[in-house]
Amino acid sequence: MNERYSNPYLIGVVLGLILLFSFYTMGRGVGSSASFSRMAAAGVKLVAPDHAKANIYFAKYMRGGRSPLMAWLVFLTLGATLGGLFSAFIANRIKGEVARGPSIGVSVRLWLALAGGVLSGFAARLARGCTSGQALTGASELAFGSWIFMLCIFAGAYATAYFFRKEWL
């Protein structure tokens, strides 16, 4: 029932043009991980406003008296949610499920998703970006650190793959 996924080279060309459009209009590439950091900042601000202001890292999101969520990347992430939803809808791929390999249980998969999320969230802040904001964007502008970052992502994942093969295969 699921439509087959599109050709990756075609998608790559279109994605490259989207990235180019972003550079042409905004002078910057795409990204998303900062949105989640901003959500964390917004959450802390809601619960304990003084604490949020006192945190050196979150303080940079509070500049100009704006909400931490009034940011370019937050809107981009919102757009990506809608775009993903639209694509999944027209391909008849919207389905409530826990995606995993055949030999792993739902609860283990969810705990691993949480662990992977925590690691990625932390790592993306440390590296000042994720696969989109650092690797895709930085590699396109030939930034040195971004190329190293991208190679390290692949190195980290390939090094771990064997130990978690039951999760996916």
Binding site: G12, V14, S33, G83, R109, R128, E141, A143
Partner: protein, 268 residues
């Protein structure tokens, strides 16, 4: 002449609408490629499906060529494009951890958004994890601040490091991409599942590869770093620049050109 926003063509509010539009297409193509599915994403690490490499590398090559050709044609002022600064140590450690997080969690930040949009509960949990991970980062930030700013090299690019012009670098990246695609295709033939892999015509692939190498070669020959092509990178005062900025009449009303400081958000 771009980048439009930094030359004051529109204000912060409009830039947010543009962000949503760019994001829409971004999310749309990622879902098209199957990147809302963690088994598809992680299959590259088991040598079964190299869609991640093909999409990323094609996008990077197209964007590199696009930026350099735009700059040659005078359509974009590359000196106004925000170049991500290099902090080598945190980028190495962050990259390795990101890779481990990707393999264990099944997603990278943007693909988890797309997964969530297509109904995956593990995508939602991954996002909650990222919010929590960012919170931990902010809490321990005073302790790791030294490491966070270690290895700072400024906004260095590969041409600066390797001391060759960006045209040659672009050509080398094109060659590398074609080589990587060829290896990916061979590996998929061996380990991949032909039932689920998207099909493509060998003729189109060959034409595409030739076109890439040709476009790269032209750049390598004409050298986009030559001063002829970067006239417009002189500060705003220059007369040519003033002409370019002219269409942005609302400049007087809204202080937009200076406002972009607010969004000087790092990378991602």
């Amino acid at each position: 002449m771009g980048p439009l926003y930094k030359l004051g063509w529109f204000d912060f509010t409009y830039s947010l609408q543009l962000a949503a539009l760019i994001g829409f297409f971004f999310g749309f193509v990622l879902e098209r490629a199957g990147f809302g599915n963690p088994r598809k994403l992680t299959a590259i690490f088991y040598l079964r499906d190299f869609a991640v490499l093909k999409v990323m590398f094609t996008a990077i090559v197209v964007c590199i060529l696009g930026l350099l050709y735009f700059s040659i044609f005078g359509w974009i002022d590359l000196s106004r494009v925000h170049i991500l600064p290099t902090y080598i140590w945190p980028q190495i450690v962050g990259g390795l951890l990101c890779g481990v997080g990707f393999l264990i969690g099944g997603y990278c930040p943007t693909t988890s958004v797309v997964a969530t949009a297509s109904g995956k509960l593990d995508g939602v949990i991954f996002i909650l994890g990222m919010v929590f991970g960012s919170l931990i980062f902010a809490l321990v930030f005073p302790l790791i601040q030294g490491f966070y700013s270690s290895g700072h090299m400024g906004a260095v690019r590969l041409p600066d490091i390797l001391k060759i012009n960006s045209g040659i670098i672009a050509f080398l990246v094109c060659l590398m991409a074609v080589g990587a695609f060829w290896m990916a295709e061979k590996t998929e033939e061996k380990f991949g599942d032909k039932e689920t892999l998207p099909v493509g015509s060998a003729k189109i692939k060959r034409t595409g590869a030739t076109l890439l190498i040709l476009l790269g070669l032209i750049l390598a020959v004409i050298n986009p770093d030559r001063p002829v092509f970067s006239k417009s990178s002189v500060p705003v005062i220059s007369t040519e620049e003033a002409e370019q900025v002219e269409p942005s009449v609302p400049k007087a009303g809204a202080p937009s050109p200076n406002q972009f400081k607010i969004v000087d958000d790092e990378g991602c």
